[in-house]
């Protein structure tokens, strides 16, 4: 950055300008303005060089207050400190000057030692503050960029992992995309119904990402079971159910630390086949012991299976799907979750149509 080595002295009285000039001779380059208009012009043309502005209040063709107003509008007031020069202390003009952003006020007659000290302090203060702000801005930008990078990498990995499942299980390729969208809708309705403190936006996005991995354990299931067109035997079904555990084992292998995202992934992988009445698998968890995010992915997973065609069944309409879920034909869910599901019905319908069009 260019060094600020110039003082601007704006005063209509030549003697006053000369006195300040003498005080700073050899220390700074000096620019002079005999009225407000000249001051504004010099500011505009030298805004990267001026370290300090001495400004008289009472001047022809735009007053000192006009100059300060201009500086405020043009983002100069926080960069170029203004020392107001004034003949007398009237409370109104002093307050107004500080309000408009003057760094300090000095009264005539000028005492050179005092003027030099004040000017030096203020210049240092401003330059220090500006350099801190620049540093901070730079750091914030770096942080923001590295966070964005991390998020991109994260997204890439989540998508890569979930498409592995799609590939092997021959599920409709968009099932995972729909589970994500439906999960987001349900979380937002949950938050709207049960209070803003439930989920922050960031949490919602983490859970949505985690929902994509709900069936990741299926890649450990042998082809003969996973891809079997007909009904599974009891033994095969028992093995199939283990995809919830396999998913967790995999997650444990590549977990880095116990963070929030890992928690959601783990809970969703493990508990998305639990039932509210405790008759689900793998752990038979009951009621609110099942984390809400796992409950949500569970209902969304069932809903999506119902409204789409699978090898073993035709698709149901949305109304049919809602009726079946409410009847308890397809699992068992908490009353709170079912209320939320009803609340989200319209949005879920719109979203499923929108996604169907894309496919």
């Amino acid at each position: 950055m260019e060094e600020r080595d110039t003082l601007l002295i704006a005063d209509d009285v030549m003697i006053n300008r000369e006195m300040l000039k003498d005080i700073f001779e050899g220390k700074y380059k000096i620019l002079e303005a005999a009225n407000g208009e000249e001051a504004i012009e010099l500011l505009e043309n030298n805004k990267d060089k001026i370290a300090l502005l001495f400004l008289d209040l009472v001047m022809p063709k735009k007053t000192g207050l006009d100059v300060m107003h201009y500086m405020s509008l043009n983002d100069m007031i926080n960069i170029i400190p203004v020392i107001m020069i004034t003949g007398e202390a009237t409370v109104e003009s002093d307050v107004r000057a500080y309000e408009l952003g003057a760094a300090d006020i000095i009264y005539k007659p000028f005492e050179p030692e005092v003027v030099i000290r004040r000017a030096k302090n203020i210049i240092e203060l401003y330059q220090h503050r500006i350099s801190i702000e620049n540093e901070l801005e730079l750091r914030t930008k770096e942080l923001y960029e590295s966070k964005k990078k991390l998020e991109e990498n994260n997204n890439f990995l989540v998508n890569a992992l979930s498409s592995v499942v799609e590939f092997r299980s021959l599920e409709s390729g968009e099932h995972i995309q729909r589970v994500k969208s439906f999960t987001r809708i349900m979380l937002k309705h949950w938050r709207a119904l049960y209070g803003q403190r439930q989920f922050k936006d960031e949490q919602i996005e983490l859970i949505v990402d985690a929902s994509a991995l709900h069936d990741i354990g299926k890649i450990a299931i042998p082809d003969v079971i996973l891809l079997k067109p007909g009904r599974l035997t009891d033994e095969e079904y028992a093995e199939m159910k283990k995809h919830t555990i396999y998913g967790c084992l995999m997650l444990e292998k590549f977990k880095q630390d116990e963070n929030e995202f890992y928690r959601y992934c783990y809970d969703i992988c493990r508990y998305h086949h639990e039932r509210y009445d405790g008759r689900g698998y793998p752990d038979g968890l009951k009621g609110e012991k099942i984390p809400v995010w796992a409950q949500i992915v569970s209902i969304v997973d069932v809903f999506d299976a119902l409204i789409n065609k699978r090898v073993y069944k035709d698709s149901f309409s949305i109304d049919e799907a809602f009726a079946m879920i409410h009847n308890g034909e397809c699992g068992c869910f908490s009353p709170k979750l079912l209320d939320c599901f009803d609340d989200a019905k319209e949005d879920l319908t719109i979203e499923s149509k929108k996604l169907a069009q894309k496919e």
Partner: protein, 114 residues
């Protein structure tokens, strides 16, 4: 010589020297003072009955004479400035007579010295 000037006009030489450092520099400012137009503005405005313009002239003259450490002149100019600020033009017109005397004293001294 400059010190004598300050004595004759009721000025504060010590202050002047501390601000302007030496007699040569003071002389430079004495010349500037001769060229300063604020007294003329005040005089014209008093004559024309223009209170606002008179105030601005007085205000500027006050600052300048304070900076020059012309104590007596500053004092009377300060008085007229306040009178004009309060729009008390009649009183100010009276006060101006003393301002004119003090100002003339200063100008004569400056012309004698430089």
């Amino acid at each position: 010589m400059v010190e004598e000037l300050y004595q004759n006009i009721g000025g504060d030489y010590q202050k002047a020297i501390s601000r302007m450092q030496d007699d040569e520099r003071i002389k430079k400012y004495l010349r500037f003072f001769l060229a300063d137009e604020s007294y003329k503005q005040l005089e014209d405005a008093i004559e024309a009955g223009d209170c606002d313009s008179a105030f601005r002239g007085a205000h500027t003259l006050k600052g300048v004479s304070q900076n020059m450490a012309f104590a007596s002149l500053s004092k009377i100019v300060e008085q007229i400035t306040e009178e004009l600020r309060a729009k008390d033009f009649e009183t100010a017109k009276e006060t101006f007579k003393t301002v004119a005397e003090e100002y003339k004293k200063v100008i004569d001294e400056i012309n004698r010295v430089i």
